[in-house]
Amino acid sequence: MTTCEVAEKPRFAIKTPANLSPRIAWLRDYYFQGVERKWNNEYTAWTTGAPWDFQYNELSFYIVPETYAFLQTFRSSFKQSARRVELHPDFWKWSLPERRAWFNREVMVNYLPKEILPGDLIAGARFNVMTSSCLNKKETQERDKLVYGPKGARAAMLWFHNHGYGNAGATSGHLIPDYQRIIREGWKSVNAELETIYAGLSGAEKRGKKGGQLRAMITASTMARDLAAEYSKECLNLANAESDAVRKRELLQMADNLTRVPWEPAQTFWEAVQSLWLTHMLVMSDENYPGPGDSFGRLDQYLYPLWEKSIREGMDVEFGKEILKCFWIHCNTAYDGMIRTGGNQGITAGYGQLFTISGMGAGGRDMTNDLTYILLDVIDEMSPILEPKPNVRLHRGSPEKLLDRVVEMIASSQGSPFLLNFDERSMAGLMLEAKKSGAERLINENNVFDYAPVGCLENTMAGNDRSGTVDANLNLLKAVELTLTGGYDLIPFRDEITGKTDKRIRWGEDTGDPTQFKTWEEFWEAYAAQTRRIVRRIVELYEQSEAIRAKYFPTPYLSCLVKGCAQKGLDVNEGGAELNYVTIEAVTYATAVDSLLAVKHLVYDTKACSMAELIQALKDNWVGHEVLQARALHKTPKYGRDDDYADALARQVMELWTEETWKHKTKSTNRQFRPGMLSWNYWVADSFILPASPDGRPRGKFLSNALCPSNGADINGPTANVNSVGKALGGKAADGKGDWADYLNLLPNGGSHTMTFNPSILRDPEHREKFKAFIKGYIENGGSALQINLIDADMLRDAQKHPENYRHLLVRVTGYNAYFTSIGRELQNEIIARESHQMR
């Protein structure tokens, strides 16, 4: 009997932070104390005091099916803990956006405590709030009916998810607010512009909806100024009580900075970062959701002029880095939201405050600068840490020095400490988007290089673009299932709680009895019809929550930071942005492609089985059909092997679903649907919902992830895997005339591509050179974004056994970093099972 276990020493060394000043080391260590901290940024809830009031906007969480069971609990608990805000006497006479703008401003400026952590150089601590919906009684009743009614958004969403189609909901964030304008011009310029536009309205317009929206935005545009003034006072108070002369000077400088920014243009690097942080954190407050893809865009570009100026004026480089590192810590406090309820002290996975460095500029010029390398140093020295998430943009003209540093950092971490984003392929996708949506005026060869990804890896333009990048997630495999049944679920859905089983209803298209199809072409046509049907279905589902959000959840503060909203007098949630898209992120791509390849190969080409036998095998979850299953797994062509035959079908599948996607817009907000591929963790969770598939996969075995080949299918090695991915996106134009140079890309959003390598691939300088060349080859042949895991499977198994030794081991899962020990066992096993590529 073992009575006690002695913790073993870690067998494998993991990345540790380096070169941290005592100030930063303290702040970082303090942060990782989690629940043991005295200070935290836990949600606080705020109410109008009205009996019908509620705080929690569950629509934002519809994309996380695991949370459905808790939605009502969250709503009730925030309501119970909500503190009352003394309302303005005219509050209930105002339009909803005005109420919301005033209420949020009141909470942030006058109710939330203002605190500065010891040594911190950046002000702006608490921002996680659940504020009142600010709805009146009638609005609440209407909204609740639309959400909870028998045909309401929640029931529709649950049905959609339970039947294996995927999920959809109008989600917060996932955009790049116009931060660079605030740094350059200050909030006062936004405020002045709003006043001018408002003054230009007719009397009727002022009394109407537009007037209300603009007045709300004017109120919101003073929030950062007034909050900065409060923090400035706090800095002065602390300075007065401070005995250490150096710290006292810092606090006085912070107080002084805050009297200018973010209202005025920033004059120093310190002011720029302060301005950026306050402006950014208030976006998270405004949306009542911390940092879901609220991204910074090209940080090394728009901060550079002030970095350069401050260095010229004598700022010490290390002090400049300390300012950035304080900013890093602030970004991480987003996780405090549910610090006492989330796993690993609230620090679980990633929210995706993504920032971008390097990349191409006008005329194909490389834009790498001193600050690019400084930011890489900061990433390296702070790592491992979750936020903000770094992205390095690479292209054919990226300098060797940058590539060397990137490879070196990959070699010294468990995987890449950043996302790699590839300009040529990405820009080809955005140019296609411009063409497809008639947005050439806003996206063209003279500005497309200023794109940046948001959230995990989703490409958008900056400051004027909301692309709803995670709002609609569609399982392409569902169309294969519907084709095999002529429009029915293969296995009727059974509700585990009521025990009721669905009646046999044809949800899909009536494409006929597949056992009567004579040719593969007939099967393909039926599949195409089912695909068009499921795309229409997700468009219809999404419309419900989009319309509710547009009407009941204005975000006037965020709207100030998105070009188009002021001009149109529309909230960003009403489609106010200049560029308005909703991205359908296709999930289960490779599983669907491999399944189609298997049907073609087994039933039509080799006649290894009849269609009826195949369908029966799937109904039986392959039990009793092991020989056929083995054939499907091992003897059929698959995507991911650089096999032109299989990849041609992959491309056909891609064209089919993306073409249908471009045909749709939201009715309530006129946002254009666009295609992308990002499957977050759905490919794990939904594998238990979707039945067995023709590629040999039984129910419960994981589906394929985003753009990646199915696990273990890429038997021809990494270059073949990469080439297949590039081909699926469209490859290169035969005549050299692609949408950017010779590149084509059917996914303007881009697609998530993760590859796992064994660390031996980078063992010495010669091999690091080879790996660098592999990345250059990726620029030519691969996708829009790549995430690299560099992990020894033995290390992960050791981490499963001894999680205490690997608390800070970061792995990448579909675009977000997660602490390996904090994710579920199934996902852990999945990561271990991923093909680990070894250079030989």
């Binding site: 056929l628 083995a630 054939r631 270059t719 091999h767 250079m839 030989r840």
Partner: protein, 320 residues
């Protein structure tokens, strides 16, 4: 159309010459080295092998074989190698890939189109295609056509050879090679015959011939020497010093790298699947000290020490 027998292609190969390469493993070899790490490459004929872990026991193969060579026993599928004609029908019919045909006959055209798929990686890395094996000179017509086609497509080429071939074959292949990876296993001709089944006179003569060829050409051709480190066979200090002296004597300035490739035992299962016993089955990996001794010996012979490179794994430290 020219065709030949290969085992397989290794893409993103980083150990067979500079940069990122695709290595083509030719099937068939004139030597019979006791330690051979690729036993499946020795025979020029196709062979059949069975993987127990993949087998479903469905007997599809037993029913398919036209000559009744297969039986399902307590130990799994047994192949009667006396009667098996390697027609490949069983492997084709096997649903799970448990039965595999080793080797395949491919045309140069097919091979070329596969090799060109990684052109971007070759170009970015200074890599290319390596012909290895088995022994590429053992199929001269096939190797020559492939190399010529690769050069016509401006792909950098490497020829990895054991050196045992005719002058005429060298004359056919050298004009299309940018790098020669030349094996020198044992310097003593008697030991060479004992361990590899053939004497080394012709190999050493060919090495000089290659040197002279390189000197006669305007274009740069690189020459790397490779020596497998096999305990108690090639990894002796005497052997390494003898090879090193020869290199210093005859090839100084021409050889740009001498790779010492550490013994590994990853092929143990492969021998078992082929039904061949292997003398080195129980031999452990070399120790780090032993590898260091070999490196030291190699560097002491008068060649530039920085061209000596030890590759491969050493035995893990025993932990208690």
């Amino acid at each position: 159309m020219t065709s030949g027998k290969i085992l397989h292609l290794q893409r993103l190969s980083t150990e067979d010459g500079p940069g990122i390469r695709t290595t083509v493993f030719f099937k068939g070899c004139p030597l019979r080295c006791d330690w051979c790490h690729n036993p499946e490459s020795i025979s020029s004929s196709l062979q059949t092998q069975w993987f127990s872990t993949r087998c479903l026991g469905c007997k599809t193969c037993v029913e398919t074989c036209p000559n009744d060579c297969l039986s399902l026993t307590e130990n799994g599928i047994v192949i009667n190698r006396e009667t098996c004609q390697t027609c490949g029908k069983c492997a084709e019919a096997c649903p799970s890939g448990a039965l595999e045909t080793i080797g395949k006959t491919v045309t140069v055209n097919w091979l070329l189109s596969e090799l060109l798929k990684d052109r971007a990686y070759y170009e970015k890395s200074g890599g290319g295609v390596t012909l290895s094996g088995g022994e590429p000179t053992f199929q001269p017509e096939f190797a020559e056509t492939l190399l010529r086609e690769l050069k016509e497509n401006e792909i950098s080429t490497a020829l990895d050879t054991c050196g045992l071939c005719s002058r005429r074959t060298l004359d056919r292949l050298l004009p299309y090679a940018d790098l020669i990876l030349f094996d020198l296993k044992l310097f003593d001709p008697i030991l060479h015959r004992k361990f590899t089944g053939a004497a080394n006179e012709q190999i050493l003569e060919n090495l000089e011939y290659v040197r002279n060829y390189i000197h006669s050409q305007k274009r740069p051709i690189a020459l790397w020497i490779r020596t497998p480190l096999i305990p108690a066979a090639t990894a002796t200090t005497d052997n390494l010093i003898a090879i090193g002296r020869h290199l210093a004597d005859k090839l100084n300035g021409t050889v740009s790298r001498w790779e010492l490739c550490a013994f590994n035992n990853l092929c143990r299962d492969q021998y078992a699947r082929l039904g061949i016993s292997w003398k080195y089955e129980q031999t452990p990996l070399m120790t780090a000290e032993d590898l260091a001794r070999c490196e030291q010996a190699a560097k002491s012979c008068g060649i530039r020490p920085d061209i000596v490179l030890v590759t491969g794994a050493a035995r893990a430290l025993e932990t208690t």
